[in-house]
Structure formats: C-alpha cells, structure tokens
Symmetry: C2
Subunit: 239 residues, 2 copies
DNA sequence: TAGTGGTCTAGACCACAGA
DNA sequence: CTGTGGTCTAGACCACTAA
C-alpha cells in the first residue's frame, strides 16, 4: 500500500514506481488500454491529480502513450519509438537507419577492468559480450562490441536471437531503459573493424562509446562502435 | 488581457507567452526574483495552478530557475548554463570546454542558397557571417563558420564583441533560444581548416553542422565546424 | 517566523475519439 | 452518446530558505 508521510518520496513518485514495476512485470500488454485515471486513482487510494502526474512522468519516460479521448497504453517495445531510441545515425536524407544486424561472436565471463568501471560492477562481476556488424543495403557500416552485466540478463547467451535491439532484449528481461550518453571521436580503424568494414587498417572512422542506463540509473549496456559513415551522418539533438 | 475561450491556445500557454516576452524584454534582471506564483496569478487574473504550470514550462525552456523557499529567477545568459548549452565537446576528463574564441572575419550580405535553405530565408534574405577559431590552452581545436539571419540581429556586425557565445548575443537582441540539431560526420580538413588547426590538408577531422532555433522554432544560427579532437570527445546525451 | 515553491485534493468543465 | 485525457480552479498543507 502507498504510504503518505511515512516515506519521504512524493506520493506521485510512489505511484509512478508502482505503475512502472507493474508495466515491467507485463501486467498490461502493449496495445491494450490501462484503466482510466479515475479508476487507477480509486484503486490506489490517491487523488486523480496525483495519478495524472505519475502517468505524465511515465509518458515522459516513454513507457506509456496517452491520447485524449482514447486512453493510456503501454508503448510497444517492438515499435520504432523504442527500437530506434538510441540510434542516431541517419541516411543522407535524414531517416534513422533500421539496419540489418549479424551476430559475429558471443561470450560470457568475468568482466574486464574497463567493463567493471564503465558498468559499475564489482571485481567478481560478469558480463555477456556480443560482437555484431550492421549493414545498410548490404553494405557493412558499423561494427560493435557490446557488454552487458550478466546478472541483468540471466540465460541470455544460451538463448536465441541476439541480433535484436537492446530495447527488445531489455523488455524481455523486465528492464526499463532510461537515459544514455554517447561519446564520439574520430579514430583509426582497428584490425577487427577495418576487416569487417572493408577498409584499410588505420582508416579514419567515427568511434562511438555508448552507455545505456535503466530508468533507475543502473548501467545496462556498454557499446563500443566503429562507424564508416559515407554519406550518412550522426544526428545529435540538443535541447 | 488573457482571453479564455476566445483563443484556442490553452490558458497556461498564454501565460507562458506573456511571461516569455516580458523576460525577453528584460523586465526582470537576472538574479532578481520574479513576483511569487500567487502574486503573478493575481496580476494576470488566473489561478495559481495555471501560473505554476506556465512557470514550469519556462523552467523547462531554461528561461527561469526556481528554488523552493527561495523564489523564481531569470536564468543568467552569461552563466555556464546558457553559454555551454550547445557545447558538447569535452576534455578527456569529462568537463565541457569553455574555450577561448578569436574572430577571424565578419561579413554581411545576401544569403547563399545553402544558407537560405538551412535558415529558411527568402531569396532576398541577408545573413551575418562570422569565422572564428576556438582554442583550448592556447591550442586551436575548432574552426567555425557561422551564419545568422541579419534581420534578427540588426546592427550586429557594426558593433562590438563577436567572440561571445550565441546565448549572449541572442539575449542582447531579445531572442530566446530553444532546440537545436547537430549533424556529425568524419571528413577531411579543408584548406581553411587545416591551416588554422595546423594540420595537413585532408587530415581526418570531425565535421559538425549545427542549427539553433528560437523557442518558437525560427532558425537563428547555422554553424559549420571542423574539430580536431585529440583526447577530447563529443558528448551526446540520449534520452 | 514569514514567505517561497512543491504536493495533494476534489471537483467542474472542455476537447476529442469511438460505438 | 459515453468515456477518455486535458485544462482550470480554490484551497489545504508540507518543505525549504533566509532573515
């Protein structure tokens, strides 16, 4: 039950937390409406204004979509909204690229020091590692090395399709994705990258270093990429 | 006076507009508190909840800073908050760079076709153009070519200091800055860039293409940059 | 202690979508 | 027409800041 002044956390934040975990648990399938504001408010024993504020938060976090006169819905993790959320590379005409992905290598084991630092893991922390290549119209243009804390994705490497987007994987394991930072620089293609991108070793290339957190701030994915852009570009939004 | 249902625009949006223009006009100096929510509400003839919603909007647009128990203040355009708003290049240890700027060249005239397209100008539109170089610890690392619609900055080139940030310039001319997009790619240093950055022509370099809009969506500044990063990096936020 | 913004409530009315 | 989310109000109380 929701406490009022026993907890320091604001009531609408507590409502957000309750709803977020129920969403993560899959209580409402994407495409099916949640109860209305008024019904949720009654159920939770708070005012509809407080419920409304919580729903607004969840909408801002992209967990929900609301439409006047229609209802409140869980955002479909298979939608472009989610799949392209962390994808900032565009074709020359400004379209986000939904690239074809091929998995090259999968492994699991003790995290390297760099991985521990970046993902905030303890010395005995383990990671799942994936190497993949992205193609656009058959042309390889990105190679990437992904590391994820094993504890967040139990049984991941033993299972099926690792070519899916992080949004899709996270959904399956009940993780709600939040903010991310990406560091960009110009570098020289490594042997690994050059071979797959069909470039000479040392060719100038865009290096990307991305860290995705969950909504509560836990690091979820560290992704190192080498990109050969050609006429594509990286589209950063500043606001 | 604020109309209620004569206008389709929501009341709190109208309150936002009124306050935004009063801020742009310099009615309240940075560092001095605005009237309280209750006082503003009385003055404008709306409820304090509506006023509150408008103030929240203006805070999200970075025009205001609010602190519980303290008051509501106009954000100082000379503050880092504003000056570094569109600056995503960091030193190796993650600090935004407040670089030293030198103006190389200033001109004004009929906009080029590219400038018209990017800034949404008519065929007879004019632009102010500035070429500058940025240094960090004396080392040049960015050269840039800026274009701004002359009509927004009357008398700019005839006046003083063009080494200031766009935030500072905009403040002087009563323009409130909003969203921006920046396109990044890897390119070869032009003759202009290479010379100033002390690199060979054709050296691999980060190319940046930034467009800043005002809060109401009008393009305000187009900035083309060439950056030699070394151990610095571009820090993009994804959320 | 006085004054500020932040939270919470209860309820009225509006705008929109779908049966 | 009904039900949804969006706006707006009035007022109570809480939490923080500074004098």
């Amino acid at each position: 039950m929701l406490t009022r002044r026993l907890s320091r956390r604001a009531l609408y934040q507590q409502v957000r937390d309750v709803l977020a975990s129920r969403i993560a648990a899959g209580e409402w399938r994407p495409g099916v409406a949640l109860p209305s504001e008024a019904d949720l408010a009654r159920e939770l024993g708070v005012s509809s204004g407080t419920t409304r504020k919580a729903l607004k938060l969840l909408e801002a976090e992209r967990l929900l979509t609301r439409r006047q006169g229609h209802g409140t819905f869980v955002t479909d993790p298979a939608s472009d909204e989610h799949a392209l959320r962390y994808t900032n590379i565009c074709t020359g005409d400004g379209e986000r690229i939904a690239s074809e992905v091929e998995v090259l290598e999968v492994s699991k084991g003790l995290a390297s020091e760099a991985q521990r630092n970046r993902l905030g893991l303890r010395p005995d922390g383990e990671t799942c590692c994936i190497r993949r290549v992205h193609r656009c119209d058959g042309e390889p243009f990105i190679v990437e090395e992904i590391a994820m804390p094993s504890v967040l994705f139990p049984g991941l490497v033993e299972r099926g399709d690792l070519s899916r987007s992080i949004a899709s994987l996270a959904r399956e394991f009940g993780i709600l994705l939040g903010r991310a930072e990406e560091r960009l620089s110009v570098g020289a293609a490594t042997e690994f990258g050059a071979k797959l991108l069909r470039l000479p070793v040392g060719a100038p290339i865009l290096m990307l270093d991305r860290l995705i957190h969950s909504v509560d701030g836990t690091p979820v994915e560290w992704c190192l990429r080498q990109a050969h852009l050609d006429d594509k570009y990286y589209d950063a939004k500043l606001d």
